[in-house]
């Protein structure tokens, strides 16, 4: 199986938030999504193909993101994903849910920001 932290994130639904957030600024293909998440989490959250693509396909089925094949001159054909309007709404609502959850967790469990 893949990375335990990512697996756990996927189960709790936070992985969805990660992918939606990554696509907020524009379209990316699968590898770049994984790389961007790794970069933003300082290498802590690493998606492997086995965890990334099932998630992407699920989000696509929910019409939160849409993927299409993009061909640019001099480059290989890549499948790129971007947020749909629906996806943007979901991202906003998940963000506020997660931030109140994390706030509550911080207070209740005595977590500290790193």
């Amino acid at each position: 199986m893949g990375d335990p932290i990512v697996e756990a994130a996927a189960r709790k639904g936070s992985a969805e938030l990660l992918i939606l957030a990554t696509l907020e600024d524009g379209q990316l293909h699968g590898y770049d999504i994984a790389r961007e998440i790794a970069r933003r989490s300082d290498g802590l959250l690493v998606f492997h193909v086995a965890s990334l693509y099932p998630l992407l396909y699920r989000l696509e089925d929910r019409r939160w993101i849409s993927g299409r094949w993009v061909e640019k001159p001099g480059q290989r054909r890549r499948r790129c994903y971007r947020l749909t309007a629906e996806g943007r709404r979901v991202l906003a609502s998940q963000r506020s849910r997660w931030s109140s959850f994390v706030g509550a967790l911080t207070k209740a469990a005595g977590l500290r920001h790193a």
Binding site: H29, G30, Y53, P54, Y57, R76
Partner: protein, 891 residues
């Protein structure tokens, strides 16, 4: 670098993972390539990078699961019948590509549908408008016409004598009102040049019957129906032309046939009762001549009283007719009846319209069969494609959907085309119909509008035929059987399909024969009619109408010298060979008849018809001008003056009926009954018969009197010319103007046009039926071609083998043609049988041609056989030209 996509495929194969779509494999392959490059970039060795990627690769099961879940999810959703149809636009685009790729097939289907739907809609709309359209009067269903009839044959109706009309008014309770009228033509002069205008002498009650109010002024009163009142009502058109639409017209003068009348009313725009162009209505003012029970001059209309049905009114009028017959000797052999006004004038037209409806319905059916056949053939040709697609995983429902979209698009295009054809046909209806075909009495020009119910029906039928049969190739395609089908090729399907299609061809041929025979019979009738000798020579003869000033319409002539002056003026014109005039031109639809009493005979006993004859006034030289042979005695001449001996000429039918011994010359009779005060008329000549009423009608009894001794308000001038008659229009018109100042001449025509006009009503149905027959024939040849072309394409290999084994090409052609021989033969036999039955429908429209006319039946059957052979020829030749080697290699 390694091809990671290929490695994924290998990995899938090793683990028996199925159904990862190639694009997913591609996508993940790219990803792994990126991972490998990134590892190398970070400084990993080739082996380390490979290991990292292999680690990822070993764990692709979750992706396979996800894709599988995704597919199940989609299937579930589509089975739930979600309101969306995902991929509809893709289906349409695909269908469009399929249809344009098979351009010939698609065009045939669309054109066939368009023609069938369009023709069907146009014809049924015409029928609806003409037969079921409403009369333009208040409560038109309550309006009826009353007729006198022959007691022996109540279908033989004729117009009414004034005393009977009065008895009907007094003796019936079924009617809220009864009104009478007689046709007349008026020379109208007010502010502009004199003009001939059709008009009526009408009772004031007629307007009550019709429920019409004038737009200006008033209707004349019952008191004004008595002699001595010179008043008139005018139509909107006459008001605008002669009075410039001046609203102060009421009370002004209008000259009708030279007599001053006062305008008392202007009728509303569009009111032209009883027929198009009627512009003047004057009070009926019965004359002494009218008051003769033997003088049938008037049309009678009635409005049913509240709660009375047509049948009740008819019963009452028939009973009254019976009692009048027993009371008055002039009514011997006469009855009376009632007819809904709506039905009048439709007798022939109705039958024609129903025959046309039948024909066009058959053409629609033929077209549907053809479309069905085309769709079946097309589908079967694709059966192999469908089988292949099913066996590599396409879903059955998807194929159904694709076929549905394709055939819906075809049907849609066909329907659009059909609507276009129907619009075009109804807009340009007058190019198709002969002049006057849709001008009906009491209704004017009937507008033909597309009937939406008919359109929907035609579209439904045609679209269904294209839809239903498109699915034929999908029937029986189930997965278990696919293997066998793939091995077998299309042969199983061929057997099934050619059976169906041959049956379709037989039905098609049969129906086409019925339509063709209808057209053939009509054409033959018309050509028979054109050969009928009307009894006069219509060539190079100009005819023109004049209305003569005549205070007492049928009394002694005011212009006794009319004939002499006319002959003088016309014979002076260069190029006019002979000229004369008559009150009732043959084949022109006008008639008048008189009862008469023959000197020395007993008055007719009970149940014996009184003597009678059709009544004509002529000028000397009439017989010579029209080349009607004078069989005995002499023609009229200038010595037959008003106050001299009253003379009469009979036609042969009249002489043979009353003086069968041939001794008519010198005998005497008088108009009216035994006690009539009319003068005795002496027979001075016998002329040969003329077909007066119609080319197909046997000549009736006729008597001719000289105009100098008895007047008639409208005379038709006939002039034999030295060339094309219409070239003498102008000089003859001027000459007539010299005969009588301000006498307008109307309606100049050649007599030949009059004759051909009398059969014009036959031309429309003949033309339409011929058109339908040609379309039907074309469709049949397409059908036969389709069957054989398909047969040949499916058996190419077999033909190759046969040729390789030494079969001759001629035998192959015969073999192919034989395929269509049986269905065509069966169709011809069934069609001829059908024609014999359907021929009875149109029998009354035929002239001297039986529905079983062998010439027509045999030539039509031959024609169809020929068409079948010709349309089979191309595919048959194709079969014979097969190259054995190529054919064998192709499979």
């Amino acid at each position: 670098m390694r091809d990671w996509a290929a490695e994924i495929r290998a990995q899938l194969a090793r683990n028996n993972y199925e159904g990862l779509p190639p694009e997913v494999v591609d996508e993940i392959g790219h990803h792994l390539g990126d991972v490998h490059r990134a590892a190398a970039f970070r400084g990993c060795s080739q082996e380390e990078a490979d290991r990292i990627v292999e680690g990822e690769l070993s764990n692709i099961a979750p992706i396979v699961d996800a894709i599988r879940r995704r597919r199940h999810e989609r299937e579930r959703r589509s089975q739930e019948g979600s309101s969306r149809w995902p991929g509809l636009s893709r289906d349409i685009a695909h269908a469009w590509r399929v249809l344009t790729a098979r351009r010939a097939h698609s065009t045939l289907v669309v054109v066939t549908l368009a023609v069938a739907i369009g023709a069907c809609t146009a014809v049924f709309s015409l029928v609806n408008s003409l037969v079921f359209g409403r009369l333009p009067y208040a409560d038109p269903d309550r309006l009826v016409l009353l007729w006198e009839t022959e007691a022996d044959d109540p279908t033989n109706q004729f117009i009414v004598a004034q005393p009977n009309y009065l008895d009907w008014i007094a003796g019936t309770r079924s009617f809220a009102a009864l009104g009478a009228w007689e046709y007349n033509t008026f020379n109208v002069s007010a502010d502009v040049d004199p003009q001939q205008v059709p008009g009526l002498r009408a009772s004031s009650s007629l307007f009550k019957v019709l429920g019409v109010q004038p737009a200006l002024g008033r209707i004349h009163t019952p008191a004004e129906d008595e002699p001595g009142h010179r008043v008139a009502m005018i139509s909107d058109a006459v008001w605008k032309v002669h009075f410039g639409g001046d609203r102060s017209v009421i009370g002004r003068e209008i000259r009708l046939n030279g007599n001053v009348h006062e305008v008392i009313g202007v009728m509303p725009s569009g009111f032209e009762f009883p027929r198009k162009g009627t512009g003047i209505w004057v009070p009926i003012q019965f004359t002494d001549q009218d008051k003769n029970r033997g003088s049938h001059s008037f049309y009678v209309a009635g409005r049913l009283a509240d709660g009375v049905t047509v049948e009740q009114a008819r019963d009452e009028v028939e009973r009254l007719g019976d009692s009048l017959r027993s009371r008055y000797e002039e009514n011997e052999g006469e009855g009376a009846t009632v007819q809904p006004m709506q039905e009048f004038g439709l007798l022939n037209t109705r039958q024609i319209l129903f025959a046309l409806s039948g024909a066009v319905a058959l053409v629609l059916l033929i077209a549907c069969i053809n479309v069905a056949g085309l769709q079946v053939a097309q589908g079967l040709a694709r059966r192999r494609e469908f089988v292949t697609r099913l066996s590599i995983g396409a879903r059955y429902s998807h194929l159904v959907r694709q076929v549905l979209v394709e055939s819906l698009m075809l049907a849609g295009l066909g329907c659009l085309g059909g609507l276009g054809v129907a619009l075009l046909a109804t807009r340009s209806i007058d190019l198709i119909l002969s002049p006057g075909f849709r001008t009906l009495p009491f209704r004017g020009d009937v507008a033909v509008v597309i009937d939406s119910r008919v359109l929907v029906f035609a579209i439904a039928v045609a679209a269904l035929s294209s839809l239903l049969f498109a699915f034929a190739p999908l029937v029986g395609l189930r997965k278990p059987a696919l293997q066998a089908m793939l091995r077998e090729g299309d042969r199983g399907a061929t057997r099934l399909a050619s059976g169906t299609r041959r049956t379709l061809v037989a039905v098609e041929v049969a129906m086409a024969i019925i339509v063709l025979c209808g057209a053939g019979l009509m054409i033959r009738s018309l050509s028979r009619l054109l050969q009928v000798n009307p009894g006069f020579n219509p060539s190079q003869t100009l005819v023109m109408q004049v209305s003569l000033p005549q205070r007492d319409t049928y009394g002694p002539p005011q212009r006794a010298a009319f004939c002499r002056t006319l002959a003088g003026e016309l014979s002076a014109l260069p190029g006019i060979v002979k000229a004369s005039a008559i009150s009732h031109l043959p084949l022109n639809g006008s008639n008048s008849s008189r009862g008469l009493f023959i000197e020395g005979r007993n008055p007719p006993g009970p149940n014996e018809p009184g003597s009678s004859a059709n009544y004509r006034l002529i000028c000397p030289g009439y017989f010579a001008t029209l080349e009607i042979p004078l069989l005995a005695g002499r023609d009229f001449n200038d010595q037959d003056v008003r106050d001299g001996a009253q003379v009469v000429i009979l036609n042969r039918a009249m002489a043979e009926r009353y003086w069968p011994q041939g001794d008519a010359l010198g005998k005497r009779f008088k108009l009216g009954g035994i006690d009539s005060t009319n003068p005795w008329l002496t027979v001075i000549g016998i002329a040969d018969n003329v077909r007066h009423f119609a080319l197909e009608a046997q000549p009736g009894r006729e008597i001719y009197r000289p105009y100098s001794q008895a007047a008639w308000p409208v005379m038709t001038i006939v002039a034999k010319t030295a060339g094309e008659p219409l070239m003498w229009q102008r000089p003859v018109r001027d000459a007539i103007g010299r005969v009588e100042l301000q006498l307008p001449a109307a309606n100049p025509r050649s007599l030949e046009a009059v004759v051909s006009g009398s059969i014009a009503w036959r031309e429309t149905p003949m033309r339409l039926l011929t058109g339908f027959a040609i379309v039907g024939l074309l469709l049949v040849s397409i059908g036969v071609y389709g069957v054989l072309a398909y047969y040949v394409s499916q058996r190419k290999r077999e033909f190759g083998v046969r040729l390789a084994l030494g079969a001759s090409r001629v035998r192959l052609i015969a073999l192919v043609l034989r395929q269509s021989a049986l269905p065509v033969f069966v169709g011809v036999v069934a069609g001829v049988g059908g024609s014999l039955i359907s021929g009875r429908w149109i029998a009354s429209l035929l002239y001297e041609v039986e529905p079983s006319d062998p010439v027509v039946l045999i030539s039509i059957a031959g024609l169809l056989a020929l068409v079948a052979i010709v349309s089979g020829w191309i595919p048959a030749r194709r079969a014979a030209m097969v190259d054995p080697l190529t054919a064998l290699r192709e499979e």
